[in-house]
Point group: C2
Amino acid sequence: MTDSSSLYAQLLEKIGEVADIRHALALLQWDQEVFMPPKGAHARGLQLATLSGLEHRLFTDVETRRLIDALRGRTDLSPEQTALVRETAHDLDRAVRIPESLVRLFAEAQSRAYEEWVEARRASDFRRFQPHLKTMVDLSREKAEYLGYAESPYDALLDEYERGMTASKLRPIFDTLAARQSVLVARIAESTHHPDASWLDQEWNEHAQIQFCEEVLRDMGYDFEAGRQDKSVHPFTTTFDVQDVRITTRVNPRDFLSALSSSVHEGGHALYEQGLPLEFRRTALADAPSLGLHESQSRLWENIIGRSHPFFRRYLPRLRELFPGQLDQVTSAEMYRAANRVAPSLIRVDADECTYNLHVILRFEIETALIEGSIRPEHVPELWNSKMRVYLGVDVPDDAHGCLQDIHWAHGSFGYFPTYALGNLYAAQLMEQVKKDLPNVWGGVERGAFAELLVWLRDRVHRHGRMKNSAEIIEAATGLPPSPEPFLRYLEEKYAVLYPV
Amino acid sequence: MTDSSSLYAQLLEKIGEVADIRHALALLQWDQEVFMPPKGAHARGLQLATLSGLEHRLFTDVETRRLIDALRGRTDLSPEQTALVRETAHDLDRAVRIPESLVRLFAEAQSRAYEEWVEARRASDFRRFQPHLKTMVDLSREKAEYLGYAESPYDALLDEYERGMTASKLRPIFDTLAARQSVLVARIAESTHHPDASWLDQEWNEHAQIQFCEEVLRDMGYDFEAGRQDKSVHPFTTTFDVQDVRITTRVNPRDFLSALSSSVHEGGHALYEQGLPLEFRRTALADAPSLGLHESQSRLWENIIGRSHPFFRRYLPRLRELFPGQLDQVTSAEMYRAANRVAPSLIRVDADECTYNLHVILRFEIETALIEGSIRPEHVPELWNSKMRVYLGVDVPDDAHGCLQDIHWAHGSFGYFPTYALGNLYAAQLMEQVKKDLPNVWGGVERGAFAELLVWLRDRVHRHGRMKNSAEIIEAATGLPPSPEPFLRYLEEKYAVLYPV
């Protein structure tokens, strides 16, 4: 019998090469969204397809299987090594079910759909995007059949982002959220204490906005030696290595809070990625166990920290320097209230904390129906618009502000949206514990000193990579299994003060 | 027998995938030099090594050989198809001689050497770079042994950049150039008509410099929908597709002519790449037959066009707008003379046309000695400095301004430098013909209307890709085989007027 350390070394080399191709793919995608000139799209689609196919072929070949089979059940591995074999086996078992031809087709279609989505959104023309949506739905349904599922084909896709989660487990959680959040939103609508955010409606210099976001990111602990921030249509975080984690943001010249929240959000993701176990770079362990847990980091920073009163007390003086004369009459309390104003709105990424999950639930309902085949792509705009009226009471003026606003379906990422809501729940549950463990956390925020918080997050969440699953990480960190209650408590308490009756 | 069109289609698919990986590699390198954060270097080296190895494995596998062998000699192929089979066979015959392990080692060492070169150059510390130079020399010598050669291992490397060229063919050409150019430089030194370029020593706004370069590039015909310009330490052009050709430039705040010449130079390369046969994208035919011919395009635009008097007559008014008040006293004739002032200097990329080839010849002598093993890397600084005194009469103050100035040896690109000198020769020979064929070419330059010239270059050079070799293209375009005479004529005539005795 070959000794375990030699087999393990062979496995590391093998999956390291696969990781290299994945990271090259991530760079091709990052470039496509950040810097690529428009005519580069055709070739880029082929490049993505070729590398996706190669990555799949290399990962699923007999050699990986041989190494995994030989290492599974060995008792002389360390706990981390055992976890790595387990997680790699999981990924392999999933990957081998999908033929390389589908992987290539998917990547090519994804790239074309992305380019058409950009144009369709610009022109606010769903019809232009519709055939590409159909292709992505069809290919995703095909993928789900290959992957297999017990109840719904949607579960097969969801599992990729949030392992073990299913549509039928999500529904009761979403029902609770929808019920309690609707009550909260209705109560807020009746409040007589609506914030005045008219001061926000000014021209905010773009360079100063970017400068400010970079300063906040530095304060948070984001390492610019191991990352960078650029602009893109749809902000995102991407990883080429634990030491090369990049974010993008967007700038709204009439609302500096937009770039700020986007940068702090992606910064939260990036801190997670930069905090993954460096010794396991190029392996499955240098990854989050689920997108929901990933999102908990972005939402914790974006909303709980970045929309807190201490945060604005800290940064108002600096904002006054960066935007001379534009904020002299604005207090930190007014800024805090403006950043947390609640109003049912059209765009998910701009939604307040009280309505955000409603946007997610709407998408979840539409995409499960698409994948289960109970609706067709051409029904999406009408369904979207009617659900927006029911859940949020708003009329959708056009598809750009409706069903074309998000990139996810163009990427064929069905099952991704629910992780945003789960992220909100995990974030609130983690933060309840942070406040117990670090009684002076708000004092730190008020000084722009986030190190204590980051150390806590690194210790309880980041450093574990995929050695534990999301529920285990949440339970180990907070003493309780994941639950929507801390989030609803957080929301109800915060907004009772912000919007007294 | 399988019919040719089916085999040919299979070959296209196969080499298309190889091209996709090469283009992904080009993106990884472009990013490393343009945007990558410093800590990303370690992982990037591994990614480059993995993809280089994969590209090599995929290209050299039995399938490519089978298709090439089956297609070679078929008479029912079109001339273009025959050329494609011939060129692919050439690349394959070369590639199969090198083991994949060496390809990977080379890529990894290249990436490390690049990072150390950046630091060593910053610190002007050759000792820091020396072990990496040794590695690149050793690996290149090993590569040369695998490739095989008749006279010198250097020839095996040179052949990659300039097919069929050898050190012994280059030496008489370089002797002629060195002799005639030295006489010219000496004569110029004795001239009493030295231009006054003191007006250039001002602060030139960086944004205005970039703006100006982009306008000139647009006028030249560079398609920004199929490319972009960024900044890097060492300007370069790279191609991810015929429709995604990117350039970089550098900005010297005290000398706007630096960014201008760099942008026009890379723009010349990029026009070539954007003009390659689109129908042969992802094949060997969508490439130049040699780097010397490639360089003919950059040097023609940079020097013959971009340093001409009509060029400055065209752009002086615009420069006055972009740099208000800074050029009111400067005439186009003064600008023309300043852009063509001759002075032996330290940095190749800043060298004037009269001394430039001397920089190349110095490098050629050192790198042939390194590859032939007659000197060792530790001898390079001393040898460099003494040759600089002999050929150019200048004292090298430090390694950053001496043997560390160029990126090429860090890339392991031994045999690349001579193509710069050959590019100068080809450029002048082509331009002699342009002036015959397009008697009004200077009128066009003076109007910023370069379309006629670009059409000529596209027709005589770009569109052929690798369907003909460099000598065939030069001879078909000019009626004569390549020769140094047109270049020496051009130089002697131009500078006799600029520097009258």
